[in-house]
C-alpha cells in the first residue's frame, strides 16, 4: 500500500498534463469544456496532434503505435486528457476496431487500416445495435449472404454514433442463420460508408443535437477480403471489443472538470447578494458529489491495479454504473445552479444568459444517454449480480 505516485509516474503525469494543456489547440479544448459542438475537423485535428506525439493509441501493440504502458499509466493518460478537456481519441477507432484488427485481423488488414485508424485518416463507425435488439445485441438480423467474392449485406443498424462523419463502418452481420445459438453465425465485416446501398439517417436527440444515426443496407456488396477474422466468430470479436468499451468509462476526469466548473459558476450566481457556493445546501451537495467522485476515482485505481492482464475486471461494471450516475448528477447540478437561467438553451446574441447556463439543460438531457449506452446500467447490475455475487 502506498499513496503517492512514484517519482516516475509523477513525472509522467506532469508530462501528460503539459502536453494536453499546451499541444492541443485551446479553442478545441474550450469547446469541449463548454459542452459545445465539436466539428469533425476539430476531432481530427486533436487526434492527429495526439497521434503525432504517440498519445492516440498507447494501449495498442507497440508494433502499431502502442506504448506498452502499465494500466496505471493509461489511466493517468486518460484522466489528464479529460481534465484538460481534450477530445478523446475516437473510441470507435482506438478502443474498438483498432484493437480488434490488431488482435484478429490478417497482416494485410493491419497494414491497410491500423496507421490510418490511429491517425483518424479513416473515421470508423459501429454497426452493432439494431432497432429490435436493444440490450439483446446477439439477436441481430442484418444478414450477409456470400455471392461469389462478395458478401451481400441487407438490414438495418441504429444508434450509430457520429456515423454522419464516418468513412468506414465495422458491422456485425448474420452469416449463418441456421446456427443453433444466436451468438453463433455472426461475422464482422468492414466497408466504406459510401458503398452503394448504404444510406444513413441522422436521429435528432432531445437536446436538439445529432450524434446517432440509423444506417440502412440494401444489397450492399462487400468484398470477401473485408471479413475480419474468421467467419461466424464475430460475436467473440464483439465481446472483446465491448470489454474495451468499458475501459475508462468511469470518466472521472470529465466529471471532475464539471464539478470544478460548477463551483466556478456557483460563485457567479448570487442569492440575496451571497454567492450560491456559500449556500450550505449547494456547498454540501457539491461536497457530497465530490466525495463520491473521489471514491470512484480510487475504485478505478484499484480496478486498474488489478487488471494487469488486460481483461476487464468484473468490478469495471461498478465504474460504468457509478461513473454514469455521477456524470448525470454533475449535469443536473449545473442545471440547478443555472436555476431560472437554465431555460435559455438556444439563446444567441442579444441574450445576457452566460453560455454555460444555456448549455446546461441540453447537456443534462443529452447525458441521460450515459446510463443507457455502452451497456445500460441494468446490464451492469446484471453483471455485478451474476459475475461477482453469483446471483
Amino acid at each position: 500500500m502506498r499513496l503517492q505516485l512514484s517519482p516516475e509516474l509523477q513525472a509522467f503525469r506532469e508530462e501528460m498534463r503539459t502536453f494536453f494543456t499546451t499541444q492541443v489547440p485551446q479553442e478545441i479544448r474550450d469547446k469541449v469544456a463548454a459542452h459545445r459542438h465539436v466539428s469533425k475537423e476539430e476531432y481530427v485535428e486533436a487526434q492527429r496532434a495526439l497521434n503525432a506525439a504517440g498519445l492516440a493509441v498507447p494501449h495498442w501493440p507497440v508494433e502499431w503505435g502502442g506504448r506498452d504502458w502499465t494500466p496505471l499509466q493509461r489511466h493517468i493518460w486518460r484522466e489528464e486528457m479529460q481534465l484538460a478537456s481534450v477530445p478523446e481519441p475516437l473510441a470507435f477507432n482506438t478502443s474498438m476496431i483498432g484493437p480488434v484488427l490488431a488482435a484478429f485481423g490478417n497482416q494485410e488488414q493491419k497494414e491497410r487500416f491500423l496507421a490510418k485508424t490511429a491517425n483518424l485518416d479513416i473515421w470508423w463507425c459501429q454497426g452493432f445495435s439494431e432497432p429490435d435488439a436493444g440490450s439483446d445485441l446477439a439477436s441481430l438480423r442484418t444478414t450477409a449472404v456470400r455471392d461469389g467474392d462478395d458478401w451481400v449485406v441487407n438490414g438495418q443498424k441504429t444508434w450509430t454514433t457520429l456515423g454522419q462523419h464516418a468513412d468506414w463502418i465495422f458491422c456485425l452481420v448474420r452469416t449463418d442463420p441456421t446456427a443453433e445459438k444466436k451468438q453463433r453465425g455472426i461475422s464482422m465485416l468492414v466497408f466504406p460508408m459510401d458503398t452503394p446501398g448504404v444510406t444513413l439517417r441522422p436521429i435528432e436527440l432531445i437536446d436538439g443535437g445529432f450524434e446517432v444515426n440509423e444506417v440502412f443496407f440494401e444489397d450492399v456488396r462487400v468484398p470477401a477480403e473485408n471479413l475480419i477474422g474468421e467467419e461466424n466468430r464475430g460475436w467473440d470479436y464483439a465481446k472483446f471489443l465491448l470489454g474495451n468499451e468499458r475501459v475508462g468509462i468511469a470518466r472521472v476526469g470529465a466529471t471532475k472538470k464539471m464539478l470544478a466548473q460548477a463551483k466556478e459558476h456557483a460563485r457567479e450566481i448570487t442569492v440575496d447578494g451571497r454567492p450560491l457556493l456559500e449556500d450550505p445546501f449547494m456547498a454540501t451537495r457539491i461536497a457530497e458529489l465530490e466525495n463520491e467522485l473521489v471514491a470512484l476515482e480510487l475504485t478505478a485505481l484499484r480496478v486498474v491495479a488489478n487488471s494487469a492482464d488486460g481483461k476487464p475486471h468484473p468490478a469495471s461494471s461498478v465504474l460504468k454504473l457509478k461513473g454514469s450516475e455521477l456524470q448525470q448528477a454533475a449535469t443536473e447540478l449545473m442545471v440547478d445552479i443555472a436555476g431560472p437561467l437554465s431555460v435559455a438553451s438556444f439563446a444567441e446574441d442579444g441574450s445576457d444568459v452566460p453560455d454555460w447556463a444555456r448549455v446546461a439543460t441540453p447537456h443534462y438531457l443529452n447525458y441521460r444517454k450515459v446510463s443507457i449506452y455502452g451497456g445500460s446500467n441494468e446490464v451492469q447490475r446484471t453483471i455485478i449480480a451474476g459475475t461477482i455475487l453469483g446471483l
Binding site: D136, I206, D272, S345, A347, D349, G350, T361
Partner: protein
C-alpha cells in the same frame, strides 16, 4: 373535505382534453408547431379563447368565466398531458393574474377582456439574471417622469417575452423620494426603447431577453400617487398561484410519461420476452406511480387551499416540492426504462422530461421550496393540511 370534481369540472376536462388531443394527440404535431415561431399554434390559441379558457379565472365583468383554481388546475393538467406549448399559465395565470390582482378597474376592463378573447397575448417580465426566483425586482428600475413612468434595465429569461403584445413588468421603484419596493407596470409591445430578443428554450417553448431603455410604462393598479405601491406581496401570491398551476401541468406530463412507459414495457421485447417480464423494471414503474400520486394529491390540495383562501404561498411551496421531486424521478426513469429511444427527439417521452425540467426551474425548484418551508418548520408541532393556516 372532498376530492371529487363536480360534473361541470368533468365536462370542462373532457372539452379541454378533446381540443388538445386534436391538436397534439399526435406528438409529431407538437414537434412541428414548436419548430417555428412563436412556438405555439395560434389556431389552438384561438380555440382556447373560444372555449373561454383564456379568461377562465377572470371575473365575468372583465370578460372572463369567473372560474376558480380547480378549473385552472384542470386546464393546466390537460396541457401537461400533451405538453401543449401554448402559454396558458404564462399569459392567463401569471400576467393576467397580476392584472386581475392589482389592476385598476379600467385596466382590468381593457386588458383582461383582450386576453380572454385571445387578441392580446401578455407575458410577465420578471426574472433577472442576478436574482433567483425572487418576488421582487432589482435590475429593472422604474423612474417617475412628468406624466408617467419609464423603465430601464434587462429582464431575462421572459417566457414568451418576444411574441407578447403586452408586457407586465416588475421594477424597482427608484428615483427621488421613492420609497423603494417593487412596482408592476404595463408596457406595450411596440413601446419606444424596448428591445426584445427571443429564442427557443430546450422544451420547445420560447423565452426572451427584454431590454428597457427609458421605456414608457404605465403603473399597474396605481393611481400614480406619490406613494408608489410595493407589489411584492401580490407578486409572491400570483407566483404561488402559477407554481400551483405548473405543478398541475407537471402532473399531466408525468401521467403521460408513465403511461407511455408502461405501454412500452408491455410491448417492447428483449431477450425474447416483453420488458414487463423484468421485475426490476416493473418495480421502478411502480415507484414512478407512487411519486406521481403523492404529487397529484398535493397539487390538488394546493388548489383547494387557494380556493379556500388559505396560505397559498406555503401551499404552493408544498406542491412545488412534491412535484419537483416527482418530476425529476419520473422524467429520468421514463427515459431510462425506454433505453436509447427515450433520448431521441423523434419519440415523445424525452420531450416530457424536457418540459418537466423547464417547469422545475421556471419559478423555483424543489430545493428552493423546501428551504422556504424549512424556515418555518419549528413554528407548528404538526402540519394539518385541513386546518390552519390552510383551511
Amino acid at each position: 373535505m372532498n376530492f371529487d370534481f363536480d360534473s361541470e369540472q368533468n365536462d370542462l376536462r373532457e372539452a379541454v382534453r378533446g381540443l388538445l388531443e386534436r391538436a397534439y394527440g399526435d406528438s409529431e404535431q407538437r414537434r412541428k408547431v414548436v419548430a417555428n415561431d412563436p412556438g405555439f399554434d395560434e389556431k389552438t390559441w384561438s380555440r382556447l379563447a373560444e372555449m373561454g379558457l383564456l379568461g377562465l379565472p377572470f371575473a365575468e365583468e372583465h370578460g372572463g368565466m369567473g372560474a376558480g383554481p380547480i378549473e385552472v388546475a384542470i386546464v393546466a393538467e390537460e396541457i401537461g398531458r400533451v405538453i401543449a406549448p401554448e402559454p396558458f399559465i404564462e399569459a392567463v395565470v401569471l400576467a393576467g393574474g397580476l392584472i386581475a390582482a392589482v389592476g385598476t378597474d379600467e385596466q382590468k376592463g381593457e386588458l383582461l377582456a383582450a386576453i380572454a378573447e385571445g387578441t392580446t397575448v401578455p407575458a410577465f417580465a420578471h426574472a433577472e439574471i442576478g436574482t433567483r426566483w425572487s418576488a421582487s425586482a432589482a435590475a429593472v428600475t422604474a423612474t417617475r417622469t412628468g406624466e408617467g413612468w419609464t423603465l430601464s434595465g434587462v429582464k431575462e429569461p421572459v417566457p414568451n417575452g418576444a411574441h407578447a403584445d403586452v408586457l407586465v413588468v416588475s421594477a424597482l421603484l427608484a428615483g427621488d423620494g421613492a420609497p423603494g419596493g417593487t412596482g408592476l407596470f404595463v408596457v406595450q409591445g411596440d413601446a419606444a426603447g424596448l428591445t426584445r430578443t427571443g429564442y427557443r428554450t430546450h422544451d420547445g417553448t420560447r423565452a426572451a431577453n427584454v431590454r428597457f431603455d427609458g421605456t414608457p410604462a404605465t403603473l399597474l393598479g396605481g393611481s400614480d400617487s406619490p406613494t408608489h405601491p410595493d407589489q411584492t406581496a401580490a407578486i409572491e401570491r400570483v407566483l404561488a398561484e402559477a407554481r400551483i398551476a405548473y405543478s398541475h401541468e407537471a402532473i399531466g406530463a408525468m401521467d403521460t410519461a408513465l403511461r407511455i412507459t408502461a405501454e412500452y414495457l408491455k410491448t417492447r421485447k428483449q431477450f425474447g420476452v416483453t420488458l414487463n417480464r423484468f421485475q426490476a423494471l416493473t418495480f421502478r414503474a411502480a415507484d414512478m406511480y407512487v411519486s406521481l400520486e403523492l404529487a397529484r394529491s398535493t397539487a390538488l390540495w394546493a388548489s383547494m387551499v387557494q380556493e379556500a383562501g388559505g396560505d397559498v404561498v406555503s401551499a404552493a411551496d408544498r406542491a412545488r416540492l412534491q412535484s419537483s421531486r416527482a418530476g425529476r424521478h419520473v422524467g429520468k426513469e421514463a427515459i431510462q426504462l425506454h433505453g436509447g429511444i427515450g433520448v431521441t427527439a423523434e419519440y415523445s417521452v424525452g420531450h416530457y422530461t424536457s418540459r418537466l425540467t423547464a417547469i422545475d426551474h421556471l419559478l423555483g425548484d424543489g430545493g428552493f421550496a423546501v428551504a422556504r418551508l424549512a424556515e418555518h418548520v419549528g413554528e407548528r408541532e404538526t402540519v394539518d393540511p385541513l386546518g390552519a393556516p390552510y383551511a
